[in-house]
């Protein structure tokens, strides 16, 4: 898939020839640009059909492992009626999207929106292309289009049996006006959507061919290594460039804004080793006084502070709690977490007075393009971003393109020269946009008959939106804080019927950058709520499943996934000797999710034997990939629960690499049994994120069942627990 921008193709050949052929590198040029009509015209923006019948489907959203690329292609192919075996893909560039008045819609790939929010536009794109192909064939045959059908890439005139392939008719279809009225198939007629098709990108990912931002190679490219001030809010005071400028291969030492210093060299290793030797003095600023302990103390105060930030108010929880026959209270805390995308942050930029181009791994090509324009000082029409595959995203590359900005600022200091900026893992670890830190106090009230009559959840801690998307704040309130605890709605509703509920937020924003992180707020909200539900069940002497069922009658979809995992795990039947069970459910990103786990605990060693995970995402475009997302999300969530936890000392992040921030490995992987149960109720739920949040509370509840100990602060390694 070595697509490259058409406009640059000749220029590239010329500049390569001029380089004297000394470049031993392959011609791995940026795919990431829609191949315009050089040898075969597109039918419409979504589909290009070649004379050999290859169907190239344009994919606006980014592919970072979540499988959106394949799912979106399935949706176009469903309506197009092409032969799936002939489908391939390409990524249009953000610049092309701007030039074509955003014909591909939004490029933003986060919040499990890849399929959800583009399902209609892509299906209509495929349907419109099919209608144009049929109309073109009918025109050639001089018959009514209504007498023609399309199937598997062939158009048939039913009365006469005449046929023509898409590839033959596509050049004519291209000249037609797009249809004004496009009707979509009834879901019951789907043949490609709902099938566990193999990923389209797998073959490239087993032989080294897949290109990520880090793999970009351009003629005469230089490399940059960078170091930013370790404490947010600090600045560069001075650096002694002369100390390293004479080193072999070093081209230039540059300051990047007032926060960072970079070395540009003819190889990244030379840049990196020179940077290691470069004397830099920092002005660390006032935040050096901040530590994990000071942040925790500040958040703790918020647990009892007055607040006006209310996310869910049903009845009068405060008054009911005051007169409750019995009250139960617990305080929980969830730490900062780092994304640790396997591919460290990087971007390659080339700047001239006429053009600024960037090649990078991004979850939002359009945001990256806007940033390139702003940073370069050139209008958007003179800027371009070429998207590659992402070596992981998880939210890190969605709203924070700090690495793109740095790359452009570096490139501006050597105009005309493409420069690849690559962060070390250490730089990546200490300059993240972390899963925010929160604490929660949960208070429940029971009446004399042991009915749960009131629940107050006070969340104290950091808002993501206040920092990264202030425009999305609602009257000073960060609505995302309450994910999974909303009183209703189709996005992330609370799944219990309790007459008096209050969920409110005491916002406290430390200087450590918060960011979206796979699932983000549902991770801790589900741990808080679903751990506490088990605590309440225990207090009242009721089985945790029965306790929940009793207050879920009005939430049939929540209940359906919970029942599904309970049944499959064998809830209510004896577990194997030494094995204990726990369960949890939640809702996020439009999907209802649940998990049930079996664990055994030997001293401080926790073994997770199996986890059943269920999801009702409304529609399941590719059940095989959804199963993989369930298992993968469990690894991500459980890594955070057991091994994660970013800590702060003297204002800086303490963890620097995998030796201080460990990850789950294959030996710790439980058997994951996935249940994909789409209710097809008109709602398109997310897939990449929702299930992440139920693994942790299900496992925690099982650990408590095994040990009698309730863990309320994380990561579990801080309690001496290890995952084996």
């Amino acid at each position: 898939m070595n697509f490259m921008p058409k406009m640059n193709r000749r220029a590239f050949v010329v500049s390569t020839a001029a380089a004297g052929g000394g470049l031993a590198l392959g011609w791995q040029l940026p795919f990431g640009a829609a191949e315009a009509a050089e040898d075969s015209p597109e039918v419409n923006a979504w589909a290009l059909i070649k004379p050999d019948e290859t169907v190239v489907i344009r994919i606006a959203r980014s592919e970072m492992g979540q499988g959106t690329l394949t799912g979106l292609a399935q949706m176009v192919a469903e309506e197009l009626e092409c032969d799936w075996a002939k489908v391939t893909y390409e990524f249009p560039t953000p610049g092309q999207n701007v030039a074509r008045k955003r014909i591909w819609g939004d490029f933003f790939t986060a919040g499990s929106q890849g399929i959800r929010s583009s399902n209609e536009i892509v299906r209509k794109g495929g349907a419109a292309a099919r209608m144009m192909l049929i109309e073109a064939a009918a025109g050639e045959w001089k018959v009514p289009a209504s007498e023609c059908t399309a199937s598997l890439g062939v158009i048939t005139h039913t009365p006469t049996g005449r046929t023509v392939t898409f590839g033959k008719i596509a050049p004519i279809a291209n000249k037609l006006e797009p249809p004004a009225d496009v009707k979509l198939k009834d879901p019951k007629d789907w043949k490609v959507i709902g099938q566990g098709k193999k990923r389209l990108d797998t073959p490239l990912k087993v032989n080294g061919e897949a290109k990520y931002g880090i793999d970009i190679q351009l003629p005469d490219m230089l490399y940059a290594a960078i170091k930013a001030v370790p404490v947010n809010g600090g600045k560069v005071k001075s650096f002694d460039a002369a100390k390293v400028e004479g080193r072999k291969g070093v081209k230039k030492v540059v300051q990047v804004e007032d926060t960072a210093v970079a070395v540009i060299a003819d190889s990244w290793w030379r840049a990196k080793t020179a940077l290691d030797e470069l004397p830099i003095t920092w002005d660390l600023g006032d935040n050096v006084k901040v530590s994990s302990a000071s942040i925790a103390a500040w958040l703790k105060e918020g647990l009892d502070a007055d607040t006006g930030l209310v996310g869910n108010k049903t009845g009068d929880a405060t008054a009911t709690l005051a007169s409750a026959a019995k009250k139960v209270e617990a305080v929980y805390a969830y730490p900062y977490q780092h994304h640790v995308t396997m591919e460290p942050q990087n971007a390659t930029a080339r700047f001239t007075d006429e053009k600024c181009e960037v090649w990078t791994s991004t979850q939002n090509g359009e945001a990256a393009l806007a940033l390139v324009s702003e940073t370069s000082g050139l209008p958007i029409a003179k800027c371009e971003v070429y998207k590659t595959f992402l070596g992981g995203g998880f939210g890190r590359r969605s709203t924070s393109h700090d690495y793109v900005k740095q790359a452009v600022l570096i490139a501006k200091q050597m105009p005309g020269v493409p420069i690849k900026l690559l962060w070390t893992r250490e730089e990546d670890m200490v300059h993240g946009w972390y899963h925010p830190v929160t604490q929660a106090k949960l208070t429940a009230g029971f009446d004399a008959d042991k009915n749960l009559t009131a629940l107050h959840i006070r969340i104290s801690g950091q808002s993501i939106l206040a920092t990264v998307m202030p425009a999305r704040m609602q009257e000073g309130r960060d609505p995302a804080t309450f994910s999974g605890l909303y009183p209703g709605g189709a996005e992330a509703a609370f799944g219990y019927d309790i007459p008096n509920v209050l969920v409110d937020h005491s916002m406290r924003n430390p200087h450590i950058h918060p960011g979206f992180w796979r699932g983000v707020n549902i991770n801790h909200n589900a741990i808080y709520l679903e751990s506490f539900m088990d605590e309440l069940a225990k207090e009242t002497g009721v089985d945790p499943l029965e306790f929940r069922r009793k207050i879920m009658a009005k939430h049939p979809k929540h209940l359906a996934v919970l029942n599904a995992v309970a049944e499959k795990i064998g809830w209510g039947t004896p577990a194997p000797a030494g094995v204990h069970r726990g369960l949890a459910h939640f809702m996020g990103f439009g999907s209802y999710v649940a998990a049930a786990a079996e664990v055994s605990v030997d001293g401080k060693k926790v073994k997770i034997h199996r986890i059943v995970g269920a999801t009702d995402p409304g529609y399941a475009v590719n059940p095989a990939q959804i199963e993989r997302q369930i298992a993968g999300s469990f690894v991500y969530g459980l890594t955070g629960l057991f091994l994660g936890g970013i800590t702060v000392k003297d204002g800086a992040v303490e963890q620097t690499n995998f030796d201080t921030y460990d990850m789950m490995r294959i030996a710790q992987m439980p058997k994951v049994e996935a249940i994909v149960m789409p209710s097809r109720s008109g709602v398109w739920g997310g897939v990449g994120e929702p299930t992440i949040c139920v693994a942790a509370p299900a496992v925690l509840n099982a650990i408590t069942a095994a040990t009698g100990t309730r863990y309320r602060t994380f990561p579990l390694r801080e309690h001496g627990l290890t995952l084996v």
Binding site: K198, W269, R270, V635, F658, M664, R665, A667
Partner: protein
């Protein structure tokens, strides 16, 4: 100048002898299938074969690879036919983002050479590569499929 043999081909490269092999493979020779993940031999994304053994190339000086047979992910397939691990990875649809999979596949190929029919315990002991997408369940299935191929 350092002389290297990568995927059966000889390369003369102008690098300092203590340069990690990874960067020579990626940036000097231009074979970008081998990935950088940590630089401290923890994650395994940079795994290549040196004389048939799996080695984390981020932590090996290029001078220590002179005179040895270096195989990268690009050289794993032979005679135009995918290695059985690569084929199993396609059959089981293992990769997600795919970034760690070059190293994962190289580690698994080396394991199967040593233990053609590994048990789950063998896999747990030998395969310590990090995958943040969490493909481990598929990786395990892929290893067994390759062993049975």
């Amino acid at each position: 100048m350092v002389q290297l043999t990568i995927n059966g081909k000889s390369h003369e490269v102008d690098v300092e002898p203590d340069t990690p092999l990874l960067w020579v493979i990626r940036d000097t020779v231009g074979l970008t299938g081998t990935k950088y993940g940590c630089g401290i031999a923890q994650c395994g994304a940079c795994t290549v074969h040196i004389n048939g053994e799996p080695v984390r190339s981020c932590s090996l000086a290029v001078s220590d690879a002179v005179g040895k047979q270096i195989i990268t992910i690009e050289g794993l397939a032979a005679d135009g036919k995918l290695h059985k691990v690569q084929q199993a990875w396609i059959d089981q649809d293992v990769p997600q983002c795919g970034y760690c999979q070059s190293g994962m596949i190289m580690a698994v190929a080396a394991l199967l050479k040593q233990k053609p029919n590994p048990t789950d315990a063998d896999i747990d002991a030998a395969i310590t590569n990090i995958c943040r997408c969490g493909t481990y369940q598929q990786v395990r299935a892929g290893i067994h499929a390759a062993a049975n191929a």
